[in-house]
């Protein structure tokens, strides 16, 4: 396979949430400056649609509609109609951040996850949640469909391709899976591989699951994050993904990245290619050769890689699978005359 970089789009600040319109003509970015941007995919020209009162952390194009839904560190979800260019709904969903949000592929459900990590014990075990950590909404009406419990902070969420399940992963490396029709929790995939208890500097937990994706057949779920570190503040844990057979008893881990293929860094994004033969994990590189790895769906082997020299927070493909979009940012530059050079980035790759 080949992945050739075709375009780099610059935005004012780091992209934390990202999606692509059905025809890939427009891109949508939720950014650190609180802005939700619409970008012309061909020209790279962008306009600010609306804002959040803190970092904007997610934006999703709702299939079969003209809606986008955004989420932010202000705990607010916003519905926006692209046809009328008007905000149609605003919900105070959480008391803390919406860490991440997602829409189901049938356009019925929208999920957002939250949770503040507060010390719950002498060794800084996370305290119990003070509000539901996972909320599922009707993507059309905004009505709350489910409120699920988890251990804060809950940092990643994904719907299954068959639109029957939602999964959410947390700081402690636990991914829970719920059935949308019943609200019943079906699985808890446990791993300690993503969570560090700082030995060197900070006697507290860091890391956890930063992105989730179900396999195309919805039978397994893949989680990614940084491998364990003695000093989490260095951010150089091994780039790690693990795959769990969540339907099986005990939700066992059935595959993971080969240690020899991983460098150090912080993967934050996962996505399956529409062709279903491989998936991509991307993030920030600390040490190693790539920040974006392409992995064979059957064997888990690294089949291709690249380094776009940026922190990547989201990966998306167009529906044909001929284009890949990596969204994120570089480091924030020092201000010049009170202004910052743009440090948000969207990289477009042609996939063949």
């Amino acid at each position: 396979m080949k992945a050739e970089q075709a375009k780099t789009i610059k935005l004012p600040s780091t992209v934390l949430g990202f999606d692509v319109s059905a025809d890939a003509s427009h891109l949508y970015a939720a950014c650190m400056d609180g802005g939700i941007y619409q970008i012309d995919a061909k020209t790279g020209e962008f306009e600010s649609l609306f804002r959040h009162d803190s970092y904007a952390s997610g934006v999703s194009v709702v299939p079969e509609s003209s809606l986008i839904i955004s989420s932010g560190y202000d705990g607010v979800l916003q519905w926006y109609d692209l046809a009328t260019k008007k905000q149609i709904r605003k919900i105070n969903a959480h008391q803390f951040w919406s860490w991440q949000s997602a829409v189901s592929s049938d356009g019925k459900f929208f999920a957002s996850v939250t949770g503040q990590y507060l010390a719950g014990g002498l060794k800084y075990e996370p305290a119990s949640e003070t509000e539901p950590s996972v909320k599922v909404f009707d993507a059309q009406t905004g009505d709350t469909v489910h409120e699920f419990s988890h251990v804060p902070s809950v940092q990643a969420v994904a719907f299954s391709p068959d639109n029957q399940y939602v999964a959410a992963g947390n700081l402690m490396g636990e991914t829970r899976v719920w059935e949308l029709s019943t609200g019943k929790q079906l699985a808890a995939c446990q791993t300690q591989s993503f969570t560090s208890w700082g030995i060197i500097k900070v006697h507290a937990y860091q890391g956890g699951v930063y992105s989730l994706v179900f396999s195309p057949d919805s039978e397994s779920v893949i989680a990614c994050g940084m491998g364990q570190m003695r000093d989490p503040n260095t951010g150089n844990g091994k780039q790690t993904w693990q795959r769990f057979a969540w339907r099986q008893k005990g939700a066992p881990k059935i595959a993971e990245i080969k240690s020899s293929e991983a460098g150090g860094g912080h993967p934050e994004a996962l996505a399956f290619h529409p062709g279903k033969e491989f998936f991509v994990m991307s993030g920030r590189l600390a040490q190693g050769k790539w920040n974006t790895g392409f992995f064979d769906n059957k064997t888990g082997a690294l089949i291709h890689s690249l380094d776009c020299k940026a922190r990547i927070t989201k990966v998306r493909f167009n529906s044909e699978g001929t284009q890949m979009f990596l969204a994120g940012g570089t480091g924030q530059p020092k201000a010049k005359d009170g202004k910052y050079d743009p440090f948000g980035r969207i990289f477009t790759y042609n996939i063949a």
Partner: protein, 445 residues
Amino acid sequence: MKEKHRSNRTAGECPTPEHTLHRRMFLKGLAGAGAISVGSFAGLFSTPAFAEQAKKEQKHCILLWLTGAPSQFETWDPKPGTLSGGPFKAMGTNVPGVQISSLMPKCASIMDKLAVVRSMSTKPSEHAQGINLLNRGAEPRNPFVRPVLGSVLAQQLGHLDSAIPNFILLDPCPEGNEFKGFKAGNLAGWLGAEYGPVRAGGSYGIPDIQRLADMTTTDQNDREALRQFMVKKYENDHKSAAASSQNAAFERVKGLMSCASLFDINKLSEADRAKYGPGTFGIHSLLARNLVENGAPFVMVANGMPWDCHILNHETHQMLVPELDRVIFHLINDLEERGLLEKTLVVAMGEFGRSPWMNASHGREHYPNAWSLAMSGCGIKRGVVVGKTDPEGYGPIEKPFNEKNLFATIFTALGIDPYAEYDLPNMPTFHRVEDNAPAIKEILA
């Protein structure tokens, strides 16, 4: 008026070997020693009348040492609506016009009891240098080793008759990268080992300090007298600084033995633990309160180096700042309720601040140019904020202060002459605060 302190050390002499003697080993080595169970200040003195008088006059200092350098944006100097401001909002306080981070609602409610300096501006941008500078109050001048704040206050505020250590470092995380190196270094400097810290907390707990059941008090005293005689003889015969340091350390251990219960987190009340805890920094801050209440002149509370957020700054501060908020709130209120705030200086600070810009790892870098600290209590004006930074927090635009200004402020607040000259034979002239740097008068009561 000059106030002099005579050192028994000479110029160029190697630092005391005290730092090489691991106190835990000392404590474990003393497992057979006896203990007098004392849980109150009065019990630490042989004469109750003297104890009462000393207690009345005693001044204290608690240093909440925030190793690694907390972000001023997520604590005392928020910049809402700016790209450097981060995701947390600012909130109003009970001092009109003053806002702090929304991560600190409890401190916002007692802002009228705090003094905040928003324009600290120092030079070192690396931890080792910053930690030393903000603990010693001056740049190093090798080979002379300036004592840290705790040692100076131990000498100035401590009582030789007190069995409770004069300089206590509550240090539940024995690691801490550069801070680990600092802790292992010569903290007392030219003041000598007797003014060095006693470390406790976490794995430095003191579980082996009780006298063995099969040893009588007489036996223990006899053994201690013999040990003292032999070490003193060795010290005299060989002019050994090591022996002197060992004796000083044993004296501190004897003190510890008599007040061991004050270091035992298992003896803390559930109500107090609920207020300060559950994290170990909060619990050890509670110990600091109790130690001060029982006469300790100086207690430093640290916890590794948790604030060094080169990655995921906000994700880490979301947890650390609420804990700090809770600790400061309860500590100030508890000291006030006990009538101790007037004579106890509380300082919360790290070795510098963090950068206005975020790196690619979503972290903030070291930033000494403009950072914040908070103080309260003895000698400090309440409800004031001094200094101002520019809209993005790049630098002070009003009243920059450095480490010398800070130390002059601390000493003045505690009634100690900041400019006294050390009397150090065969050494250059050193002062508690060099260059006659002025105190931050805006926050002095």
